[in-house]
Every structure is written in C-alpha cells, then in structure tokens.
C-alpha cells in the first residue's frame, strides 16, 4: 500500500456532544413540524457539503447505518472520505440498502422508489433521504396536511424534480411504508415525513 499523501480532511463538529444534539433536535423538530424551516448546521465551519446536511450525517450516522451517496456527492472531491471518516458509516452503492442517503436534488434528481421502503412488520427499516436543495423558501409551493401540521403546511423547496407530486402521492399511499425526506441547505433544514399528505389539487 502506498502512503500517498491525500488532501487533509475537513473538520468535524467543534463540540461533538452539543453540536450533534443541536443537529438532532433540528431534525426532530423538522419531522415533528413538517414544512417549518429549522435553523441547522451549527458547529461545522469547514465541510465539503452544505453544513446543515453534513451536520445531519455526522449527528445521526455511524457504523450501524449504511449510507448511500448520490452520484454528484460521491464524486464531489473529499466528500465521501470526509463522511466516511467522521461518521464511520459504511457507504453502500444500492440505495435500497441504505438507512440514510444524501442526494443533491438538482444534480442527482430524486426517485423515492429506489430507496428502502421498510416492511409491513418493520416500516422503520426505511431510508431517510437528506436532500440538498438550492433553497427552502423560493420553490413552487406545495401544500401538505397530516400529523405535525395544525391545518396545512406549505413547502417551497427549490430544485424538486418534475413529477415530485406524483412520487410523493405514491410514497404516502404506501404508508406506513415509505421514505422520509429532510431537505437541507447550508444553514437550514425542512422535514417531510412519510405521514404528510399532499393536498388534492396539487399536480
């Protein structure tokens, strides 16, 4: 094995215990209040990914969670090595094997059906998708209802692929199976759990 000098890895959390707790609480609030933007990405000044997405991986993934990276993330210089080193998660190439996935909405697109959906007995054995978005408040509006939402919630995530509404309807129709999504930018996240129902008139 050659001792090739690789580029230095970017840094992990400044305060691992408290920063990962903050990242988790943001994720918890995001899924408990779908559609509400939660500030995130604290304690990660130096990361190859948008900080809020990197914080989720570092806070939630470890050797127990197979991690799938979208093609654009996998080839982003230093990123796979960074996530691998700091989270200890095993990288998998089959999204159906992944507990977590990081994809870029714009570069990788999004196909919810390729991820682990869980089983009727264990619907929790499904993939949580961390989706990088160019913006959480400037996309076309989509209206949701369901647990965690008082009346309706309007998501304005930018970069969603065409046909996302149909994909999400199929995802919801399979409830309790399905995929949960956390959309992330550099400083905020927004949650869309599988329980969220798209309002009827959205196309």
């Amino acid at each position: 094995m050659s001792l090739a000098v690789s580029a230095p890895l970017a840094g992990s959390f400044l305060e691992p215990v408290f920063d990962s707790q903050r990242a988790f609480r943001a994720a918890m609030d995001a899924l408990a209040h779908p559609g509400v933007v939660q500030p995130a990405g604290h304690g990660l000044p130096d990361t190859p990914l948008p900080a809020a997405a990197a914080a989720l991986v570092l806070a939630l993934c470890d050797y127990e969670t197979p991690l799938f990276l979208g093609p654009s993330i996998e080839t982003l210089p230093g990123t796979a090595a960074y996530l691998r080193f700091h989270s200890d998660a095993m990288l998998v190439t089959d999204p159906a094997m992944a507990a977590f996935a990081v994809i870029d909405l714009v570069r990788d697109g999004l196909d919810l059906a390729v991820f682990a959906q869980g089983t009727p007995e264990y619907p929790d054995r499904s993939t949580t998708v961390i989706a990088l978005s160019p913006g959480l408040t400037d996309g076309p509006p989509l209206t949701f209802s369901g647990p965690g939402i008082a009346a309706t919630a309007t998501l304005q995530v930018a970069g969603l692929p065409a046909g996302f509404a149909q994909q999400w309807r199929a995802n919801r129709a399979a409830f309790p199976l399905g995929v949960d999504i956390i959309f992330a930018t550099s400083d905020a996240i927004i949650g869309l759990p599988r329980s969220a129902r798209l309002s009827k008139d959205e196309r």
Binding site: F24, H33, G146, P147, P176
Partner: protein, 302 residues
C-alpha cells in the same frame, strides 16, 4: 457537574441509536420502533425508557420537569430530576409552563402544552395487544395488517360483563387513523389531551425496548362503540385544596375513621391555582408542611 459521565449519562453512539428511533417514531405515528435499550442506573419499572428518551433529546439549554402520577415531589420524579441535574447539569423546574421537556409517569399535565415543549412518557408495556395475544410475532403481524378486531372484542367483553367499558387507564387509542397505541397507564381522563396537542409526545419503554411517538396536532381517538361512546372519568367533588373542577383528582385517606379528601393529582396546577387565590373546602385543614399543602423544595431534595 461530575465529569465522570458523558453529558446526560448516555454515550454518544447510544444517543444516536435512540435519536434515529425517535425520528422514525415521529414519521410513523403510533408505531413502536424497536431500539437497543441500555441498562440504566435504576431498575426497570422506574422509567428507564423515558430516561433514555430524555437523555437522547436533552440539550444544555433545556429546562426539565419530571412528574410521577402528576406530582413533582414523589420518589420517582425527585430521583430522575436529580439524575439529570447531576449528569447533564441542566435547569430543572416544577412549573409546567417553564419546562421545555416534561418527563411523566402516568399523567399529562392539566395545563395545555405548547409547541416548544416535549412530553416524554415512561411506558411499562408498550404493546396494547399484549394481554390479548402474548406472541410478539403475532402482534407485529396484527399491527402490519391493522387487524385490531381483538381490541374491540376486549372492550365489548367489558360491556358484556360490567355494562360499560371498564378500562379506566392505559385506554387504547388509534393514532392518525392507523396504529392502535397504548398511551401508557395514564387515566382515561387524560386521553383527550393527547389528541391535537401542540407538543410533541414521545413514549419510551426500557424493558420492552420500544419507542413511539405522537407528533403535534395529530388526531388520536380513544376506541369505543357508537352505543357506548368513550367517556372521561368524572368526579363528584371539586379539589379540596384549590376547588378545581376540571382536574384529575387523587383520593387521599386522612385518618382511620373514613376521613378522606380529593385533591388535584397535578401538584403544580393545584399550587398555581392556590397562588391565584382559589381556595378549596379543606385547604385550612391540610396538614402543615406536608406535600399536600406545600410546594416541594427542589434545592433541598437534590
């Protein structure tokens, strides 16, 4: 703060594992997510599930309240509060409105909770079907198929035997139209408070290794029949200390000659009402310095 522990006692890998289970539980309301429950420095039955959930979500800025049967000053509540005050060095309170996390054994506070609060329940038996079907493989299939007829048979047998649904606590509920869930042994008086609450509700069962959740604003329906609708417990008396007529009351035996009084089980609610000038019929007779008449002194206890 003792530095012999990680923040909030649990190691970081354990917290990640519990946190992942909590996220799944929120996404699938009412579904019991298996988790690798750890041994805690307290016996099963003392809230090890709730303690692990609290430890996993707790941050340095949280304010923790712990209640046991509604009271802040009972053994279980005092020791869990002391546990977190020592291992996480966080602020504790007895006031419902000041808390960001409320860990509870068998009650929901009378004061409505807000969106900034999380209610953590200690759960002994998370499986509502367990006493009807002992095999985990079977109950898991029943949940997968939404096969809940057996639960209705149980409630029907109550009616056949007693003339009404005699289940008074751990009364089964249906969450968001899908999973039937055991709300933990809260009195059925509290069931309506689960539904549509602004606060996130997390349930932890340590011995049984399950975590489940009710997100905010989620419809939670107590199972019943059209001709035998769900009814809350009703009380014939107001609280003897604060005169409340809308709270859950404990019966307290006061002597060996049949004397008794009915007082709010939620001690904070009762104290707050008395502080605002509400006076119950037996307030003057309450033994001075007893838990009934006096606010618990957190500093001294811990």
């Amino acid at each position: 703060m003792t530095t012999a522990y990680n923040f909030a006692y649990l190691d970081e890998q354990t917290k990640r594992m519990i946190r992942r289970a909590i996220l799944k539980a929120i996404a699938i309301p009412g579904y019991q997510v298996p988790f690798a429950s750890r041994e805690m420095p307290m016996p099963y039955g003392w809230g090890t599930g709730g303690v692990q959930v609290t430890a996993a979500i707790l941050g340095p800025n949280d304010v923790l309240k712990v209640i046991d049967q509604g009271a802040d000053d009972t053994t279980n509540a005092v020791s869990i509060r002391a546990f977190f005050a020592r291992t996480a060095d966080i602020a504790v309170t007895t006031k419902t409105s000041e808390a960001t996390i409320i860990q509870t054994r068998h009650r929901i506070p009378e004061e409505p909770l807000t969106a900034n609060q999380v209610l953590v329940y200690q759960v002994p038996i998370p499986e509502p079907l367990r006493f009807l079907e002992p095999r985990e493989t079977e109950t898991r299939t029943m949940h997968a198929l939404s096969e809940y007829g057996l639960m209705h048979v149980k409630l029907y047998e109550d009616i056949a035997r007693h003339g009404h649904i005699a289940t008074a606590y751990a009364y089964p509920v249906e969450v968001a139209g899908r999973y039937v869930m055991d709300p933990s042994p809260i009195p059925k008086f509290d069931n309506p408070k689960i539904s549509g609450s602004a606060a996130l509700q997390l349930f932890g069962a340590g011995r049984e290794k399950r975590i489940y959740a009710v997100p905010p604003h989620t419809a939670v329906v107590s199972l019943d029949f059209e001709d035998h609708p769900f009814e809350r417990n009703k009380f014939d008396h107001p609280c003897a200390l604060c005169n409340a007529t809308d709270s859950y009351l404990d019966e307290v035996v006061t002597d060996d000659r049949g004397g008794r009084m009915y007082v709010c089980s939620d001690t904070d609610y009762c104290e707050d009402r008395r502080a605002h000038g509400h006076r119950g019929a037996q307030l003057a007779e309450a033994p001075a310095g007893s838990a009934l008449g006096q606010k618990p002194n957190i500093e001294a206890a811990e």
